[in-house]
């Protein structure tokens, strides 16, 4: 689906390379988190996926299309990009027209557009709001309008730039659950976040970027149990992983849990060699 080969990139007027020779590929249906400290190049990399930025060296292929030779408009059919701030795109007088903007740009038939808008609104729970002015909705609702606007273009690949930043816990979970459902239906997901708990809960694979290079590219569990490498990027593994790693005995006490449920069940299943005299 996504093939990155020796990707180099620098902005026009600055000499410093932001991306320095990245190579990896993402298959259909994967759920990948892209993490790294500020300035590592995460958003710059995401924008390569729909040709908002084009490689200055190497190449990026999206579903067979070379991004260097394609426009963002052409890639919009394959790649849906959810930006952090919904107010950067909302401008239509009704939610219906807003969600329909993308499909309209794809020159679909009116019937098809109407169908897709209703489907997308249903998926995000905004069917009742189709006639309202999106600018007057709450922040969380506007975020869902933006999400529906992306969904209505039916992209195979979904790219999300900090989907939960600036939202409360409930709103964040709602968005991620919708994304998870889409992944289960076969969509490929790539998301950038600072929230390691979120990564531990949803991502199957994690790519760690540092100074424009891939530092680690592995399963979620493997990445968070590589603390020496992560430390180079000033990132902390999720709390439970940190806790488990503090028990440094061999053989390891825990089998690399990431969530509360996992470590809880492991603790319960540990053999008791002395009766429980612990505590109240």
């Amino acid at each position: 689906m996504i093939k990155v080969a020796d990707l180099h990139f620098k902005y026009g007027n600055i000499d410093l390379e932001v991306l320095r020779g990245l190579s990896f590929s993402i298959e259909k249906g994967e759920f990948v988190a892209l993490i790294g400290q500020n300035g590592a190049g995460k958003t710059t990399l995401l924008k390569q996926f729909n040709a908002l930025l084009k490689p200055t060296g190497g190449s990026v292929q999206i579903a067979g299309l070379d991004t260097g030779k394609s426009t963002t408009g052409e890639l919009a059919r394959k790649v849906g990009f959810l930006f952090q701030n919904p107010d950067h795109q909302i401008f239509m007088p009704t939610v219906f027209k807003e969600i329909g903007f993308g499909p309209k740009n794809l020159h679909l038939s009116k019937a098809e557009i109407d169908h897709r808008v209703e489907e997308a609104a249903e998926a995000v729970g905004l069917s009742a709001f189709l006639g309202q002015n999106p600018l007057l909705l709450s922040k969380g609702q506007r975020q869902r309008v933006a999400f529906a606007s992306v969904l209505s273009m039916k992209p195979e690949i979904l790219v999300l730039d900090e989907p939960t930043t600036g939202q409360d816990y409930q709103e964040g979970i709602e968005i991620m659950e919708m994304v998870l459902k889409l992944n289960q239906l076969g969509h490929t997901i790539v998301f950038v976040t600072h929230d390691m708990e979120l990564v531990a809960t949803y991502a199957k694979r994690v790519i760690v970027l540092s100074h424009g290079r891939v530092l680690l590219d592995d399963s979620c569990r493997n990445v968070f149990y590589h603390p020496e490498i992560l430390r180079q990027t000033n990132l902390f593994p999720p709390q439970i992983a940190r806790l488990a790693q503090m028990f440094a005995q061999k053989p390891a006490l825990f089998s690399r849990p990431l969530t509360v449920e996992e470590i809880y069940h492991e603790i319960l299943n540990l053999p008791e060699s002395t009766p429980n005299v612990c505590c109240s």
Partner: protein, 262 residues
């Protein structure tokens, strides 16, 4: 925008002058250029501006600005020159026909107008390049008695230019990702394609303005008399420069009215 209004830090005589002096110089140039009609004299005025840029050590940075001004003046001359038909014909673009006649009066007149445009515009970037905004504001408020909120608006709008350019970039990227096109051949369509960019920009601008206003209110803005951390004094050298400029200006005008400098 940034080249025209940006402060270029140097330690030159011109930089050290009070903003009032530089404002006076700019104003004097504009006044003189309205009187003179001889393109050679006006070109001389422009040369004096270039020399000031050199003295300030910012000539290199001013090249693109001067180039731009020359280009605009050139365009202006080109559009006007074929329509002035008084005087002796110097040459014709397409000989044998009446099309594209350039006369001597036409040539001098248009060159003068072009040169005047350049002189009027050229001093502003030098003023901004050698004066820190905060000093300019202080002078506007304290010496020229412009109410602080207006001067503040001017400064702040400049400070926010990069911010809004960034916002605009992000909006363009967000809408392009929805297959929005900005390069329609059809003029009307191209005009309408601004809408998905203009509305989000307006909305985010208004939001930012409100947040900024709240931030300012919580720091006592607009209550009344304020003090200034830095004040640029008007020193002896400033008086000397202003007097010299004034004398030169009066002399030039005297020569003009005597018929010597036209």
């Amino acid at each position: 925008m940034s080249v025209v209004a940006n402060y270029i830090p140097r330690d030159s005589f011109v930089h050290r002058l009070s903003p009032l002096t530089k404002l006076f110089w700019s104003f004097l140039l504009m006044t003189l250029s309205c009187f003179f009609r001889d393109p050679v004299v006006l070109a001389g005025l422009f040369l004096s501006i270039v020399l000031v840029a050199l003295a300030a050590g910012i000539l290199k940075e001013m090249f693109p600005v001067f180039k731009g001004l020359l280009f605009i003046a050139g365009l202006f001359i080109l559009f006007q020159i074929f329509f002035i038909t008084d005087g002796r014909t110097i040459f014709t673009l397409i000989p044998g026909t009446g099309i594209g006649r350039v006369t001597d009066i036409g040539l001098t007149g248009c060159l003068a107008m072009g040169a005047r445009m350049i002189v009027i515009a050229a001093s502003f970037p030098i003023l901004m390049g050698t004066t820190q905004i905060k000093d300019l504001v202080v002078v506007l408020v304290e010496k020229l008695k412009i109410p602080y909120p207006y001067a503040f608006m001017f400064v702040t709008s400049l400070r926010f230019v990069p911010t809004f350019m960034q916002e605009m970039d992000q909006i363009i990227q967000a809408q392009s990702s929805r297959a929005h096109r900005l390069d329609n051949k059809n003029f009307v369509k191209r005009f309408l394609s601004i809408c998905p960019l203009a509305i989000p920009l307006m909305v985010t601008s208004v939001k930012k303005a409100e947040r900024m206003a709240i931030s300012m209110e919580t720091r006592g803005f607009g209550v009344g008399k304020r003090t200034n951390l830095h004040t640029k004094e008007f020193r002896t050298v400033d008086t000397a420069v202003c007097s010299t400029l004034l004398l030169l200006g009066v002399a030039a005008l005297a020569l003009h009215f005597k018929g010597i400098l036209m």
